[in-house]
Symmetry: C2
Subunit: 336 residues, 2 copies
């Protein structure tokens, strides 16, 4: 069977199972591991604190196009998507390794711009680029490995959602997908709107402080929204063995996304992906404290239930179930 | 200018300089960093111990060919080359992130074999695969990020060689390059010889225990031989601002390499690369202790000098200088 027949998540499940089974042959190596494959970041017990690590890759013409993205924007984003993974666990990002696979005819000045973007993200989020690798390839691929530590609380995980928890998100949803749609020629609007949505896609600002705040205040379950709200909530439900209901009328959609996309704003917010906002769940009392003390906008959009496992139900404003087919982005499935 | 005009090392120098200059804008982020870009692994001060991290990438048809390498061998090697980098700093490898860039038509069973090879290396060297990423691409690229810690002594670095130090290596040199030459159709010999040399290339056994032993006993300078003896000794000389003399007659060359390649064995040992043996330097007294207490073969092959900076001089058995042009492997230079 080919990998595009079982898809990215099928292949990850298969490998995760294989790696998990190997643990019994090397118990010493796994002794300190708290979270392995399957969350936003790996977590282990360090000598004196909890440590985290993650890696994320951007492939030319899969994750970005050099026709619509500048090298500097690409640099920012390649760091930001990794920083977001550490943030989604409540961690503090610290040290990065950068691997570049590059065709030989890429211009040196473009690589300088790429690092300009990376170093801007490093400056904002206090990350140090301490190493990496450089290889030739037929297209540009940027891989960042990032680790960090946990300053307080437990790591936020995908597996800690419990029935009765409220579901909330930070910020707005769908702007990034709107920006991508505009860049790929979807629609032309006035410049300030284009700029706002394009920036949402190319210059995401990971919620690192918010993740640390959530961990400190006692929230246990979170994920960053990279595959899309419904898909990522699905990941949480799968890991936590629960289900979820979303009241779609409550989704935080920016006035600007509505202005440009009208009724299409809702599907963009539900399925669009790459928002890099945090999706988290907590009991109602904890959620009240979060809403009171958070310095960024928090919107409660639904509830975790004990219904049919791993099912995400979407309700419209009258409580009627909305049916949907596509749940996000899967890299290998040939049907996409 | 295109990157294949300044080459891999030119580009790394340029980026390392840029990253270094950024340190002054973010002193807090760099506070704990002991070694950044430019050694086998990055080193920082953790909460209670010294931590290390490295990353290494294998690209299809650049670093390996699926015509001559099985998926399982590829899995072993992708871990081993990273484990070797941690070993060369005297560290203990611990946790790995594995990123696979794969064409959609790769077979699932081949990825299973790839992980069989990885998990064998994990078992032998007590490494846990705790996460990774998976993306589509036009060719297969395997990136491993690995970190570890230092149990005793200081990290072994490229920058600690001093004039008067003896230069030594572990094991044999050139077998891996011999294996590669055989696999790419260079020569046909009897099966046991082919197997031995092929294994040296595809199944390197990183010198992790030896690296830890060297750090413990007080050796300060080391590198693993991946680019080739002369090239890697050149890296040490460059970082340490010293020069080196190699007595080529002293190089540890296996009888089997000599049997197959005759006079070509020497250039293979000097320039071949991918031996993953350790090259290290130490004052004569320390070197005596190393030779006495080491459990693996150690050969002294030359001496660090204060001559013309960064120059590696090769002497033949009569003390005559041998001239050479090519110093190893550079990924981007179009002349190769």
């Amino acid at each position: 069977m080919k990998i595009n027949e079982i898809g990215e998540f099928g292949l990850i499940d298969l490998i995760a199972g294989k790696v998990k089974r190997s643990r019994k042959y090397q118990p010493a190596a796994w002794q300190g591991v708290k979270i392995g494959i399957g969350d936003d970041a790996a977590v282990w017990q360090g000598a004196d604190n909890i440590e985290l690590a993650t890696t994320d890759t951007l492939v030319q013409d899969v994750h970005f196009s050099l026709k619509t993205t500048t090298w500097e924007e690409l640099g920012w984003k390649s760091l930001a998507v990794n920083i977001s993974d550490i943030g989604a666990m409540g961690g503090v990002p610290k040290y990065a390794l950068v691997t570049l696979a590059l065709p030989g005819d890429v211009l040196v000045e473009d690589i300088v711009k790429l690092y300009d973007g990376m170093l801007k993200a490093c400056k904002k989020y206090q990350v140090a680029i301490v190493g990496g690798d450089m290889v030739t390839a037929t297209c540009t691929i940027i891989t960042v490995a990032l680790w960090g530590c946990l300053n307080s609380g437990d790591p936020l995980t995908r597996s800690a959602a419990r029935p009765g928890d409220k579901i909330a998100v930070t910020g707005f949803l769908g702007d990034s997908a709107g920006g991508l749609a505009l860049m790929t020629g979807d629609k032309i609007v006035d410049t300030s709107l284009t700029k706002y949505l394009r920036t949402a896609h190319l210059h995401p600002e990971p919620r690192v402080n918010e993740g640390q705040f959530l961990a400190r205040i006692g929230v246990k379950a979170a994920i960053d929204i990279s595959d899309g709200l419904v898909a990522d909530l699905g990941h949480v439900c799968q890991s936590s063995k629960v289900s979820a209901i979303i009241n779609t009328e409550k989704l935080p959609i920016s006035p600007r996304l509505k202005q440009v996309f009208g009724e299409r704003a809702l599907p963009l917010a539900l399925f669009g992906g790459e928002d890099y906002e945090l999706l988290f769940t907590a009991p109602a009392t904890v959620m009240e404290t979060v809403k009171k003390e958070s310095t960024c906008p928090i919107t409660v959009i639904g509830e975790i239930t004990s219904g049919k496992p791993e099912k995400v139900t979407l309700l419209d404003s009258r409580g009627k179930v909305l049916y949907w087919e596509r749940g996000g982005w899967d890299h290998f499935l040939s049907s996409h």
